[in-house]
């Protein structure tokens, strides 16, 4: 190949390579890379692919447990869920694309995470989504909410995977950087997991799925010499999703996976053909020769550079056992998908690309992967905050009035308007629908289930990254526990500002420390995840948002519980200690107008003791309803139980319980509904287990009555909770 290169340091810089990185690239090649090679270096060494700023810290996270089959590093995490089955899951961000074009950005985010999961052999059984938007009164917010929700639904509904849960909150710090984190959970036979490790010299490299177009080739490169103005305007920066093709790709892949033709398989996600081929080769210590003329193309005159960097969706790369090409081709043709042999594995240890008969790139695989940059960025720990004392609570408003006001705030109101746009029942196994603590999906043809939830409380992480990181994991674990599931493992999606800023890096380091501590204490390892940095606009970063997605197993679905009061006369028991912690609480923010104060501390020993006690009670079949206590404290949790069920409740707090008791956000707490006759046994059993528990009331009637503080009707609560989001989206409320 010609070794003359027109690549200048400026062009390298436009590709996001630092001068040092450019030098290292030249050393590795022993010459200056050409444009195609530069493009490959730039994506392989990008933050997205190389995790260069986060690696050092991610390594500190606990990733192992007896039930972990495959931890971080593959396309998704894999855990053993018994009966010869494995759950495969991951969460990923699609923040920036969703801000640029909310519908397509969110839709392709869902498409991407689905591929990460079915590329490992799993049939996806559930989608979740964690959404963060700017202030409701920000000019763009309404449009972004409408587009993102429609896009998530548009993709998931069409492919036929139920979207069963997630979260959605609003804060001005997201005005210029919304967060769209999508999670997929799949199920596969434990002994039929597929990995992305290439093997077998001479084995064919296969491209399947959609054709390659000039989709999403990243901005910096637009300026580069190779493109004339015309091709510039030809190049869409936004990718359009095709869920129909993804559905065909899913079925075709699972059909092929039922045979033994596949050696390795990897979806083409960000940095499409480059990272998929490179990662497969480097994982297997192989070389790879690709003939780019064989790549199915959507447009004429595509260059090697464009083919390697295109982010066209709904594509997969596979290595097959030599000789099995025709069996595989037959399957993909039945599903009307492109199928092309585009190369072979070699023992050269190099990636060699050919186009129009000549070599257009020739790179050593191992050195490029091995010497990917890794930074130990300087960081400044977030200063601790003062605790907020109960007397700071604004008592000028009654408990019931405050509750009604809280129930119609953007963060606490019902997200029904969102999940009703998602098909959350398709596949016929949704036992626990959206609206509860964790969604519960029956494992098809069994009486067991998977529970899944996503959680994070960004205002806590902002106030104290370590405690906030712990709390995100603890709340996730608690939500799984509250439906009676055994929490097994988590995936994380770490959304932060620029790692080049010491305060942001300090938030990141602190959050990772907290997440790690909680994951260890709760035996809740991290098996997959994703980091999204640079979520900031002119120097103002988002609230640090480490979304935690958790999966657990329900051993007997007949004993799993929801949050609603289903019968009159049930006793209501509060599990866990209440000190009335108001710092960084929603009561303080929404009623007193202050975002001050340290967040509630998470005592992981208590968390575990309380959770294990509650789970055992649910497993015993005696519990009728259970809800964890989080945002808004006891009062809000009670209101949610009243709304989800058929009855109100009459509650009595301890002597002199004030706003801090009703709205404080102390951790490790649950509300349980149980037969009145059984309540005293429950309380004393708790005592024996060293768990604090007290009867606080009884279910029944059509109102929520808080003795000494008045009454509010279910109807008034329903109007407050269900009313806000639809009214807001219709342009009425704000």
């Amino acid at each position: 190949m010609s070794t003359i290169s027109n690549v200048t340091p400026e062009l390298a810089a436009e590709h996001g390579l630092t001068p040092e990185e450019f030098e290292r690239a030249k050393e590795i090649l022993g010459r200056t890379p050409n444009l195609t090679e530069l493009g490959i270096f730039s994506v392989m060494w990008s933050e997205h692919c190389s995790y260069k700023s986060s690696k050092k810290w991610l390594r500190t996270l606990p990733t192992e447990a007896p039930w972990v089959i495959c931890g971080p590093g593959e396309n998704a995490g894999v855990i053993d869920i018994g009966d010869g089955l494995a759950a495969i899951f991951k969460m990923e961000s699609h923040n920036h694309p969703s801000y640029i074009e909310p519908y397509q950005g969110a839709a392709t985010g869902v498409g991407g995470i689905l591929r990460d999961v079915f590329t490992m052999g799993a049939r996806p059984v559930a989608n979740l989504n964690a959404l963060r938007f700017g202030s409701p009164d920000h000019a763009k917010t309404r449009h972004l909410v409408a587009g993102v929700v429609a896009g998530i639904g548009g993709y998931g509904n069409c492919i036929g995977v139920p979207t069963v849960g997630g979260e959605c909150t609003f804060h001005p710090s997201y005005n210029g950087n919304i967060l769209v984190n999508a999670m997929t959970v799949g199920i596969a036979p434990k002994d039929r997991i597929f990995y992305a490790e290439a093997a077998g010299v001479g084995n064919p490299v296969i491209y399947v799925g959609s054709k390659t177009g000039r989709d999403g080739i990243h901005g910096a490169t637009m300026a580069s010499a190779e493109f004339d103005d015309e091709s510039e305007q030809k190049r869409p920066t936004v990718q359009v999703g095709d869920p129909f093709t993804e559905k065909l790709l899913l079925e075709a892949c699972l059909e092929l996976m039922a045979t033994d033709a596949i050696v390795a398989i990897q979806d083409m996600g960000a940095a499409g053909l480059t990272s998929s081929s490179f990662e497969m080769a480097s994982r297997g210590g192989m070389g790879i020769d690709l003939d780019l003329d064989m790549v199915p193309m959507r447009e004429r005159g595509m260059t090697a550079y464009e083919l390697m960097l295109s982010e066209s969706q709904e594509r997969m790369l596979m290595v097959l056992h030599a000789g099995r090409e025709d069996d595989a081709r037959a399957i993909f043709e039945k599903w009307e998908l492109d199928f092309a042999v585009i190369g072979r594995l070699t023992d050269s240890g190099r990636m060699v690309l050919r186009k129009d008969g000549e070599t257009v790139a020739d790179l050593p695989v191992a050195p490029l992967a091995a010497s990917a940059p890794e930074y130990d960025r300087p960081y400044k720990p977030t200063p601790k905050r003062q605790a907020v004392l109960k007397n700071d609570a604004d008592a000028s408003i009654g408990v019931c009035d405050a509750l009604e006001r809280l129930m119609k705030t953007p963060d606490l109101c019902s997200k029904r308007w969102i999940w009703e746009q998602y098909d959350h029942m398709v596949m016929g196994d949704t036992v626990g629908r959206p609206g509860g603590d964790a969604a519960v999906i029956r494992i098809h043809d069994t009486h067991r289930g998977l529970a899944a939830t996503t959680d994070c409380t960004p205002r806590y992480v902002a106030a104290d990254p370590v405690e906030g990181g712990k709390q995100a994991v603890a709340e996730c674990w608690r939500n799984l526990t509250a439906v009676g599931a055994r929490p097994l493992a988590i995936t994380d999606c770490l959304n932060f500002g620029s790692p080049e800023r010491e305060d942001v890096m300090g938030q990141f380091v602190g959050a990772i420390q907290g997440i790690g501590e909680a994951a260890r204490a709760l035996e809740f390892p991290i098996v997959s995840g994703n980091v999204s940095f640079y979520n900031e606009t002119n120097g103002k970063a988002i609230q640090p948002t480490p979304s935690i997605g958790g999966v657990g197993v329900v051993d007997d679905l007949s004993r799993s519980v929801g949050i609603g009061f289903g019968d009159e006369g049930l006793a209501i028991v509060l599990v866990g200690a209440t000190a009335g912690h108001l710092g960084s609480s929603l009561f303080l923010r929404e009623i007193a107008g202050s975002e001050e104060g340290a967040p509630p501390a998470v005592d992981l020993k208590t968390e575990k003791a309380n959770g294990d006690f509650v789970r055992a009670e649910i497993a015993s079949g005696r519990v009728k309803a259970c809800h964890d206590i989080s945002d808004g404290g006891i009062a809000v949790a009670l209101a949610e139980m009243v709304l989800a069920g058929r009855f109100g409740a009459t509650i009595e707090g301890p002597e002199g319980a004030g706003h801090d008791w009703w709205f404080g956000e102390d951790q490790a707490r649950y509300l349980i509904a149980i037969d009145a006759a059984d309540a005293d046994r429950l309380v004393s059993a708790a005592g024996k287990a060293g768990v604090e528990a007290r009867r606080i009331g009884i279910a029944g009637g059509a109102t929520l009555t808080i003795t000494g503080h008045g009454t509010i009707s279910r109807e008034a609560l329903r109007i407050a909770s269900d009313g806000w989001l639809p009214a807001y989206m219709a342009g009425k409320a704000q």
Binding site: P236, V238, Q239, V240, D242, S312, Q313
Partner: protein, 82 residues
């Protein structure tokens, strides 16, 4: 006045519908089908405006609501139907 608006995907943007239509047509036995692109066609009655006013209004309607200018182009034609 009446506005006739064509909204089409920018060149190079994937058109899943067009692709599916092309396949369906060949499955129906129509040979030699090239590229198929599907767009929107919108007609808006604009009583009591002159052509210039209509033109201006419709342009901003497209920018603000009718077209997704990140991936779509639009073309407006004003006809007198009085």
């Amino acid at each position: 006045m009446k506005a006739l608006i064509h909204i089409t995907l920018k060149p190079g943007v994937l058109d899943p519908q067009g692709k599916a239509i092309a396949n369906a047509l060949s499955n129906l036995g129509f040979g030699g089908i090239g590229d198929v692109r599907q767009g929107k066609y919108i007609e808006i009655e604009l009583p009591g405006r002159d052509a210039a006013a209509a033109e201006a209004d419709v342009a901003s309607m497209c920018e603000r609501l009718l077209a997704n200018t990140v991936i779509e182009d639009y073309r407006v034609e004003i006809v007198d139907n009085s």
